[in-house]
Symmetry: C2
Subunit: 274 residues, 2 copies
C-alpha cells in the first residue's frame, strides 16, 4: 500500500469544512490551493451538493485576488452526465480540482466508476492538486465515513461506511472534527479495522498530503487516531446498542506546521512548530 | 500518592451529568448510589447551584422507590453558613452525600476549608459514599477544570483550572464529555502536566472509584487520557492563541463494566464486558 501511495505524484488538500473564504480574511487554505495551482485552471466540483447554487460565486470571490488562472464549475446532476464529453474535457487541462461540501455519497454515487472519476485520477497521477472540503474530504479515502452520530460516544451499530474514491489508502477521514464532537465516531471507525489510520480534521484546517507525508495548515488541528496497539475492543462482540470499549489507542494532535508520516505512523519532528 | 488513595475507605461515584432520574427510567446510577447507601441517610448537596430550587424534588422523586432511608438537602447560601452547627450535624450520621450540578467554583469557594468540607472528608474516610454529578464530579479532584471551550480544538491559553476538593488525587475530571465535545480541552489539561490522568465522563455515566480502581456504569463511556508517553507538546512554548500540538497520547474508552487501575494506569481485563 505504501508503495502505491508513493507512486502518485499529486497533492491532496483534505479540508475539515468551513475553510475561510472571506476575501478580507486570512484564507490560509485557499492560498495554499492557489499557490499549488500556480496560475493554472481550477475546477470547482460541486457534485456533493443537492443544490449547488451559490457555491461557485462564493469560491469565485474567495479566490478572486489569488493566483488562479481560471475557476470553472463542474456539476453532475445525475450519473449519465458524468460521461459527458464537455465535462470530461473541462478536467483535461486543469491543474487542480476542488470538491466542495454536501453529501459524500453524492460524490461517489454520481461519479464513481465514470469518466469524471477517471479524469480526476489522471489529474492526480500527473501531479495535479485534488482538494476537498467536508464531504469532499471524506470521499478521498478508500473507505469513507458516511454517517454516524456526532457529540456522543460511539455505539457499536451506529456507523455507516462506504467505498470512497480511494485517492488515499489506509486512512479514514472525518471532518468538522472538534466542532461536532466526532472523536467517538472516528474511534469507532478505527476499531473496525486498526489497519486504517483515523484522520480527524477541524474546520478551517487542512491536511496536505504528498506521498506518505501530510502536514497541517489552518486555524485548527488534525487528530490522528492510531489503533495499532489496541489491546481490546468490543466492536465485533457487543450488541449494536452497546457503547464502544477500546483500550490503548494512540492519538496525535497536530497543529499548524506539524507533519506526520502516514506509512510510518509517526509525527515528523522537523516540522514541529511552536 | 497511591498510598494516600489506598488509605481511604469510601467510594466515589463520579457522574458525567444528566444521570437518568426518571422514576420510570433505568436509573442505573441512582440505583448504584442507593445500593451503596444501604438504607442509610443521603445528603443532597445543592451548593453548586445559584438557584437550587427544584433539585431536591427532582432527586426525591428519582430516589423514591429505591432503598434510601432518608434524603435531606444541604444548601450553603454563603460561606459563613458552611460552619453552621445544624448543617454540620446533618452530615454526621449520613451514609453518603451527593453533590448536584451547577458551578464547581461555587462548591470549592463556599465549602473549601470549612466545617462542611471537613465533615465530607470524614464521611469519606469512614467509608461513606461521595457522589457528584457534573460540577459535583469536577470538584472531586485536587485540580479541577473550571472553564474551557467545548467543541473546539484546545487553544493553549484557553483553559482555567483551580484547586478542587482533593478527594481523588492525580486525576482531572471532565463531564458531559462526548456530548459537549470536550476531548480537546481534556487533552489540554493533561498537556499541562502528564502526571494527572484525564478522566472524561459522558452523561448518564459514572466512574465508581474504590481505592486505586474505578469501574464504569451507565449508558455512555468513560475516556481515560494518559499523557505518560507524550513525546512532544507545545503547551509551554506556544502563544496562547495557538492550537495544542501533542504527540503520543494514550486513550482508553471504557464502556459499562470496564475497569481501570488508576495507579497502574491500566484497564482491568477481568472487568471487560462485551
Amino acid at each position: 500500500m505504501a508503495d502505491e501511495i508513493q507512486k502518485k505524484q499529486g497533492t491532496l488538500i483534505i479540508i475539515g469544512g468551513h475553510e475561510d473564504r472571506d476575501p478580507s480574511g486570512e484564507r490560509m487554505i485557499l492560498k495554499e490551493v492557489a499557490r499549488r495551482i500556480r496560475g493554472g485552471k481550477l475546477v470547482l466540483a460541486t457534485v456533493a451538493s443537492h443544490s449547488p447554487e451559490g457555491y461557485f460565486d462564493d469560491y469565485e470571490k474567495g479566490f478572486a485576488d489569488l493566483e488562479i488562472g481560471n475557476l470553472v464549475e463542474l456539476y453532475v446532476e445525475d450519473r449519465t452526465e458524468a460521461s459527458d464529453r464537455k465535462k470530461l474535457d473541462a478536467i483535461d487541462d486543469a491543474s487542480g480540482i476542488f470538491f466542495s461540501g454536501g453529501d459524500q455519497l453524492r460524490i461517489t454515487s454520481q461519479i464513481g466508476d465514470t469518466g469524471v472519476e477517471a479524469k480526476v485520477r489522471a489529474l492526480y497521477e500527473r501531479g495535479g492538486v485534488i482538494a476537498g472540503t467536508s464531504a469532499g474530504a471524506s470521499a478521498m479515502s478508500d473507505t469513507m465515513l458516511v454517517r454516524g452520530t456526532s457529540s456522543e460516544t460511539h455505539r457499536i451499530g451506529d456507523l455507516h461506511m462506504a467505498p470512497g474514491l480511494g485517492l488515499i489508502r489506509d486512512v479514514i477521514i472525518d471532518q468538522h472534527f472538534a466542532e461536532r464532537g466526532r472523536f467517538g465516531r472516528l474511534l469507532g471507525a478505527v476499531a473496525h479495522n486498526p489497519r486504517v489510520l483515523g484522520i480527524g480534521i477541524d474546520e478551517d484546517t487542512a491536511a496536505v498530503v504528498e506521498g506518505d507525508e501530510l502536514y497541517v495548515i489552518g486555524s485548527g488541528a488534525v487528530y490522528v487516531v492510531d489503533g495499532e496497539h489496541v489491546s481490546h475492543s468490543n466492536v465485533a462482540e457487543a450488541r449494536p446498542e452497546r457503547v464502544l470499549s477500546m483500550h490503548d489507542v494512540r492519538v496525535h494532535v497536530l497543529g499548524t506546521g506539524d507533519g506526520f508520516n502516514i506509512a510510518k505512523r509517526r509525527p515528523i519532528p522537523s516540522r514541529q512548530g511552536s
